[in-house]
């Protein structure tokens, strides 16, 4: 019995060793030169899945395949893509097996459940094909490389990239927008019932002073709305301020001139000024030439206004809206002509020029607040309160986010760090 067991053991050992012995070159036989690929014992099937990259405008494909446990430091992947039915392969990218895991995709946790056990690659089509047209069918394949030599290749997969209607990765933005809208309606309700408090803004208190001065001197007021179009918040804010300024001008029976760069802004401003004169009970004082179109060329606009200011010597100049390099060209001439000047813009690198040449300057948010501050209308006041709410959220978000992220780092709670950063990611 014992002998039988020994024989069986030896036989089994022989069977197990047979492939190893057979693989060795026999005696003096000449070794057969074979490529490393053929010698590889484990053929690697990639298991590739190609699909549209979710939550984008249709300019990328998403490739996924499982991580092969046999991959080592010498293993890398090479991705090929073609927009043709046959051939036409372009090399998309090449990366080591340790890179491009499912967790590396830059999407927030509620939109992407990436795993380290799979490879996930975002393939940018615009970068490869120039302007990739949506709906084109692409063929993709992935090659496995071992020390630079191809050892396996996936089967060819087809996929189309298309634009997605809903960007789930921006859900945080949508939630924030909904909260802001709710706060706005609550603020409107509160403003209509009890009114809302706004602190004093010095630059806006000076508007009355400037208009009064112009009335006493019998000189015109220049209101320059800048070179922005009606899609810019600063231009919209400027039209609100113009409404209030022109109302006061109509009340004091002074004269205002509004030179324009943009014809659409001019048309809006015409309506605004006309309405203000009507509200002030002075429709007869309104003149069509209050608003005048100058030019849609930045520097000829500036040169022309400079000329007008120099010749007419206005008592007050308002520069409210979107300004670029012409800011100093305009305000310096206004200062030289002796006018009292009030400026306001949200272009932060033009603000220093206004500081140096104007009597009062509204900085960014103060420009947005001006319309509400001057009119005290519940709707505008509510908008201002919503802006303050937004600032409060940013202040709290930065403070609390910072504490949580540092706590997560200290305690190695990486999920907490990822959670906090995903919540505030703009995407």
């Amino acid at each position: 019995m014992k002998n039988n067991r020994i024989v069986c053991g030896l036989f089994t050992l022989f069977l197990a060793a047979a492939p190893v012995l057979a693989a060795k070159p026999a005696g003096h036989a000449k070794p057969v030169s074979r490529p490393a690929a053929k010698a590889s014992p484990a053929p690697r099937t990639v298991g590739l899945v190609a699909e549209d990259m979710p939550y984008d405008v249709g300019g990328a494909l998403l490739l996924r395949w499982p991580v092969n446990p046999a991959d080592d430091s010498g293993t890398s992947y090479r991705v090929y893509i073609s927009s043709q039915e046959k051939g036409g392969w372009l090399q998309g990218t090449e990366f080591p097996a340790s890179a491009n895991k499912g967790t590396d995709i830059d999407l927030p946790f509620w939109a992407w459940d990436g795993s380290a056990s799979e490879h996930a690659l975002r393939l940018d089509l615009n970068g490869l094909f120039g302007d990739a047209s949506p709906g084109t069918v692409y063929r993709v394949k992935v090659s496995v490389l071992q020390n630079g030599a191809e050892v396996a290749e996936s089967e060819v997969k087809t996929a189309r990239a298309y634009g997605n209607w809903f960007r789930l990765d921006r859900l945080n933005n949508l939630v924030m927008l909904i909260i802001i809208v709710i706060v706005f309606f609550l603020a409107v309700s509160h403003a209509k019932r009890k009114g809302l408090f706004i602190r004093r803004i010095a630059g806006l208190d000076a508007i009355d002073e400037a208009i009064g001065r112009a009335t006493e001197m019998g000189k015109p007021i220049y209101y320059v709305p800048g070179i922005g179009d009606m899609t810019l918040v600063s231009t919209i804010a400027s039209t609100f301020i113009l409404g209030e300024v022109s109302k006061k001008v109509a009340q004091y029976d002074s004269f205002i001139k509004v030179p324009h760069y943009d014809p659409i802004v001019m048309t809006v401003c015409k309506e605004v000024v006309k309405q203000s004169y009507l509200e002030a009970g002075r429709p007869d004082s309104y003149r069509e030439d209050i608003n005048q179109f100058i030019s849609q060329d930045q520097f000829s606009y500036a040169a022309s206004i400079d000329g007008m200011i120099t010749r007419e010597k206005p008592a007050a100049c308002f520069f409210m809206g979107y300004f670029m390099a012409e800011s100093l060209l305009l305000s310096e001439v206004g200062a030289a002509s002796g006018a009292i000047q009030i400026a306001g813009t949200d272009i932060e690198y033009q603000l220093p020029f206004f500081f140096t040449s104007c009597d009062y300057t509204l900085i960014g948010e103060e420009l947005y607040a001006a319309g509400a501050y001057l009119s005290k209308e519940p709707m505008l006041l509510s908008a201002l309160k919503v802006q303050d709410f937004g600032k409060l959220v940013v202040m709290l978000g930065v403070s609390i986010g910072l504490v949580l992220v540092l706590l997560g780092q200290w305690q190695h709670w990486h999920s907490l760090v990822n959670f906090v950063t995903d919540i505030f990611k703009a995407n």
Binding site: M176, T267, D297, Y301, L351, V394, M395, V398
Partner: protein
């Protein structure tokens, strides 16, 4: 022929540059010429830009290709022109309404994303990898975070600026002033490079190959101001007498 045109172009460029610069002294007829020429040339330039980059490729060509859908934005755009005709000026409101709605729709998500979420994320993101941060890097990120909060305090309109709020908003003002100072210096440097460019051109046109255009024009201007100044002194002041 081309050489003659080069010289004429040099005289024109040098002349217009000096005419515009003459405004630094005072308003004068030469500046007025340059100003009005600039205004007219600017309008002409933009007219052809709109014609060749918008009207022809985006309206006329698609219509020739029977792409009738472009009529919708084209009609909305043309409706703005009805402002000039009081009886049908109401039509322009459709165009304006579309523009305002489109502008707001485009601006809201962008503003929310860039001016709101990005500010918070930008402040906390550097601290997500503290182990790889240098001390100076950490200090820098902390200054950015504190500066953001302090500046926001300054722009907070719902509370009176007094007590602790005033102290924090004063810190915000220091941050703002530091920023404005650096921006001012940076922009002034950029403007000086533009000025050097103009001076370089004036220097180029002062050579014999341009028949000393810069010097001749400059001398002419100075002569004009001298003569004009002398004549103005001789004229009696009539304002008080009248």
């Amino acid at each position: 022929m081309s050489h003659t045109w080069m010289i004429a172009g040099g005289w024109l460029a040098a002349g217009l540059t000096i005419f515009i610069f003459s405004f630094l002294y005072k308003d004068n007829p030469f500046f007025k010429i340059a100003e009005h020429l600039y205004l007219g040339a600017g309008m002409g330039w933009w007219f052809q830009v709109y014609l060749y980059s918008i009207w022809i490729p985006k309206v006329a060509d698609p219509l020739r290709a029977h792409q009738w859908a472009v009529l919708v934005p084209a009609v909305l755009g043309v409706s703005l022109v009805t402002q000039f005709f009081p009886k049908i000026s109401w039509v322009s409101r459709y165009g304006f309404t579309f523009l305002m709605g489109y502008g707001a729709g485009l601006a809201i998500p962008t503003m929310l994303s860039t001016n709101f979420m990005s500010q918070i994320y930008g402040c906390i993101q550097p601290f997500t990898d503290v182990s790889h941060m240098t001390r100076l890097g950490m200090l820098n990120s902390l200054i950015v975070a504190v500066g953001t909060i302090a500046v926001l305090f300054y722009f907070f309109f719902s509370v009176e600026n007094k007590g602790a709020v005033k102290k924090i908003s004063n810190i915000g003002i220091y941050f703002l002033m530091a920023y404005f100072g650096t921006t001012f210096g940076n922009t002034v440097m950029a403007r000086f490079s533009l000025l050097y460019g103009r001076f370089d051109e004036l220097y180029s046109y002062s050579g014999a190959n341009y028949f000393y255009a810069t010097q001749v024009l400059l001398a002419g201007m100075v002569a004009y101001f001298l003569v004009h100044g002398l004549l103005a002194k001789k004229k009696p002041e009539g304002g008080a007498a009248n």
